[in-house]
C-alpha cells in the first residue's frame, strides 16, 4: 500500500513537472532580451507530419542564423491556428498557397500557381505577409503507374485523351461530385472516366488498385512518398483543374528582413523532389523531423 502511494506520488510529481515545464514554454516570450538582440520567433505547424518537417527546417535555419526559436508544432487545422497567428501568437507558419487563399476568400476561383500566389498576397490580413513560395507542392494530383504512362505516352492530364481503353478513377467518395473528380476531368479536359470509391485517401489500397490495374487513375497528394516509392507518375495539370498549393511561409511583422531572407533562401531550395524525399524519410524510416531537417539543411549548406 505504502509503495503504491509512493509510486503514485512520484508519478504525480513527474507529471506536474512536465506540465509546469510545458506551461513555461507555452508562454509567448516577449522580445524582452534586449533591444539589440534578435527577437524570439514562435514557429507553428499543422497537425500533419509534412508540415512539421517544413516547420523544423524553418526553425533550424533561423537558429543557425542566431535566432531564438520557440516551437509550437502540431496545432490542428486552419480553423484553430489561423486565429492564433492573426492575434500575434505565432510568427512563422509553413502554409500552402491555394488552401490558405480559400480560407480567407472562400469564393476565390483562381487555381493556377501564379494567379493563386498573387491573389493570396492581396488577401493576407494586415500584420501578416507571405514570403516567396517554394517550388514544392502539396496538393491533389492525378497519378498513373509508370507502365501506364509509358504505354500511352502520358505526361500531362491532357494526354489522357490519347488513351483509348476505358479508364476508372479511384479516389475518396467526395471526388465523385467535386470539381477534381470525373465530372471536372470531363469538363476541363474532355476526358471521361469511370469512378470507384477507395476510402483511404490515396493510401496503400489506392496504390495497390493502380498496380493491379483495377483503376488506372488515382488522386494522390503530390508530396506523397509512395509516388516515388511505388513508381507512380504525376500528370501535369496545365489547365488548373486542381487548386495550386505551394509551400509558403506565413509570417508576422516580427520576422525582420534577415529572417525573411533566410526563409526565402530555404524556400528557393525546397523543390518537389526535396519535399518528397524528406517526407519519405519520415514515413518509411520513421526518422524524426528534427533529424530530417538538420540533414537537409546540411546537404544544402544552410547550417
Amino acid at each position: 500500500m505504502f509503495r503504491r502511494t509512493m509510486i503514485m506520488a512520484a508519478g504525480l510529481a513527474v507529471f506536474a513537472t512536465f506540465s509546469l515545464a510545458a506551461c513555461s514554454s507555452n508562454t509567448p516570450s516577449s522580445s524582452g532580451s534586449g533591444s539589440d538582440s534578435k527577437p524570439t520567433l514562435v514557429i507553428g505547424s499543422q497537425a500533419y507530419y509534412s508540415s512539421d518537417i517544413i516547420a523544423e527546417v524553418y526553425a533550424q535555419g533561423l537558429e543557425n542564423a542566431g535566432y531564438t526559436v520557440d516551437r509550437q508544432f502540431d496545432i490542428g487545422q486552419r480553423e484553430v491556428y489561423l486565429p492564433e497567428i492573426q492575434s500575434g501568437g505565432i510568427d512563422v507558419f509553413p502554409e500552402y498557397t491555394g488552401p490558405l487563399l480559400q480560407y480567407w476568400q472562400p469564393d476565390a476561383t483562381v487555381t493556377l500557381d501564379a494567379d493563386v500566389y498573387s491573389a493570396l498576397q492581396a488577401a493576407v490580413p494586415d500584420g501578416l505577409r507571405v514570403l516567396n513560395e517554394a517550388p514544392a507542392t502539396d496538393q491533389d494530383s492525378y497519378v498513373v503507374t509508370q507502365d501506364f504512362a509509358n504505354k500511352w505516352g502520358l505526361t500531362t492530364i491532357d494526354d489522357l485523351s490519347k488513351v483509348t481503353d476505358p479508364m476508372t478513377m479511384g479516389a475518396n467518395a467526395e471526388a465523385q461530385t467535386r470539381p477534381n473528380g470525373p465530372d471536372g476531368l470531363l469538363k476541363t479536359y474532355g476526358v471521361s472516366v469511370g469512378f470507384t470509391p477507395i476510402q483511404d485517401g490515396g493510401g496503400p489500397l489506392t496504390v495497390k488498385a493502380l498496380q493491379d490495374n483495377q483503376i488506372q487513375l488515382a488522386i494522390i497528394y503530390t508530396s506523397d512518398p509512395s509516388i516515388a516509392a511505388d513508381n507512380l507518375v504525376t500528370l501535369t495539370d496545365d489547365k488548373g483543374l486542381f487548386l495550386s498549393s505551394h509551400v509558403v511561409p506565413l509570417v508576422s511583422d516580427k520576422v525582420d528582413d534577415t529572417a525573411a531572407g533566410i526563409l526565402n533562401k530555404i524556400d528557393a531550395l525546397l523543390t518537389p523532389d526535396a519535399l518528397i524525399a524528406m517526407n519519405a524519410r519520415s514515413v518509411n524510416d520513421q526518422v524524426p523531423a528534427s533529424t530530417i531537417a538538420h540533414d537537409w539543411l546540411a546537404d544544402n549548406n544552410l547550417n
Binding site: A173, F195, I198, D200, P204, L205, Q214
Partner: protein, 230 residues
C-alpha cells in the same frame, strides 16, 4: 431537427430513387451483400456449432475463438484483405463473414448444448442414429436459439455492410462516405435511415420466424405435429 427533416427531404427526392446509383439499386446491393455474407457465415458456423453442441466437445475452444473473433476490428480486417486481394467486394465480404461467424456459431452450439441430455439419450435408447438425433431431435429443439444467433449475426452484418463502400462502388455505405466527405449531411443521415430501416425489417422478419419456431418447440400441438411425435 433540421438535419432530420433535410434527411427526409433527401429521401423524398425522386431523383435519388432513379438510375444505376439510385436508392433501390443501393438497397438491393446492400441486401445481396448481407445475404451472401450471412449465407457464407452459416455454411461455416452451423455445422461446427451443431457438432460441438452435440458432442459437448470443444466448446471451450470454439467459445474462445468466437470470443476473440468478436474483438477483431472489421475495418482493419477489410484493409488487410484489400491489400491482399485488391479493391472490390471480395475483401469486404470476407471481413464481414468473420464478423458474422461468432454470433452464428455461439447460437448454434448454445442451442444444441442447452438441450436436456435426457432427450438425446432417450432418442438413442429407442434406436435413433446420431445423425437422426441431430437432424430430428436436437436441431428442432435448439432452433429458437440457433435462429437467435442468425438474427444477431444478420443485424451486425446489415449495419456493418456499409463498409463495403470503403473499397467498392456498392451498398448504402456509399451515401454515408460521400455525405460525410461532401458535407452533405442530409444524404449521410438519409443513408443511415435506410440502413436502420433495412435492419429493422430484417429484425422483425427474423424475430417472427424465431417466435414461430419457439411456439412449435414448446407447444408442438398448437402447430402441425413434428416427426418426433409420430
Amino acid at each position: 431537427m433540421n438535419y432530420i427533416s433535410a434527411a427526409f427531404g433527401w429521401l423524398a427526392n425522386s431523383a435519388e430513387w432513379r438510375g444505376s446509383t439510385g436508392i433501390p439499386t443501393r438497397l438491393a446491393q446492400h441486401l445481396i451483400t448481407t445475404g451472401i455474407v450471412v449465407g457464407l457465415a452459416l455454411v461455416i458456423s452451423l455445422p461446427i456449432g451443431i457438432l460441438v453442441g452435440h458432442t459437448h466437445r470443444g466448446s471451450g475452444v470454439v467459445g474462445a475463438v468466437a470470443g476473440a473473433a468478436r474483438a477483431i476490428p472489421t475495418l482493419g480486417l477489410l484493409t488487410l484483405f484489400g491489400l491482399m486481394w485488391g479493391i472490390g467486394l471480395k475483401a469486404p465480404i470476407l471481413a464481414l463473414v468473420i464478423l458474422a461467424i461468432p454470433s452464428a456459431l455461439a447460437g448454434a452450439y448454445a442451442g444444441i448444448q442447452a438441450i436436456d441430455p435426457a432427450v438425446p439419450d432417450a432418442a438413442r435408447a429407442i434406436g435413433m442414429s446420431e445423425l437422426r438425433i441431430i437432424l430430428q431431435v436436437e436441431i428442432p429443439l435448439g432452433a429458437p436459439v440457433i435462429i437467435g444467433g442468425i438474427r444477431a449475426a444478420t443485424l451486425q452484418v446489415v449495419a456493418t455492410a456499409t463498409l463495403a463502400a470503403y473499397i467498392a462502388d456498392n451498398g448504402l455505405g456509399r451515401y454515408l462516405f460521400h455525405g460525410l466527405e461532401a458535407h452533405n449531411y442530409a444524404e449521410m443521415l438519409g443513408g443511415a435511415l435506410l440502413v436502420i430501416a433495412l435492419a429493422l425489417i430484417l429484425e422483425v422478419v427474423l424475430a417472427a420466424i424465431q417466435r414461430w419456431v419457439k411456439i412449435r418447440v414448446t407447444n408442438p400441438r398448437s402447430s402441425r405435429r413434428t416427426q418426433l411425435h409420430t
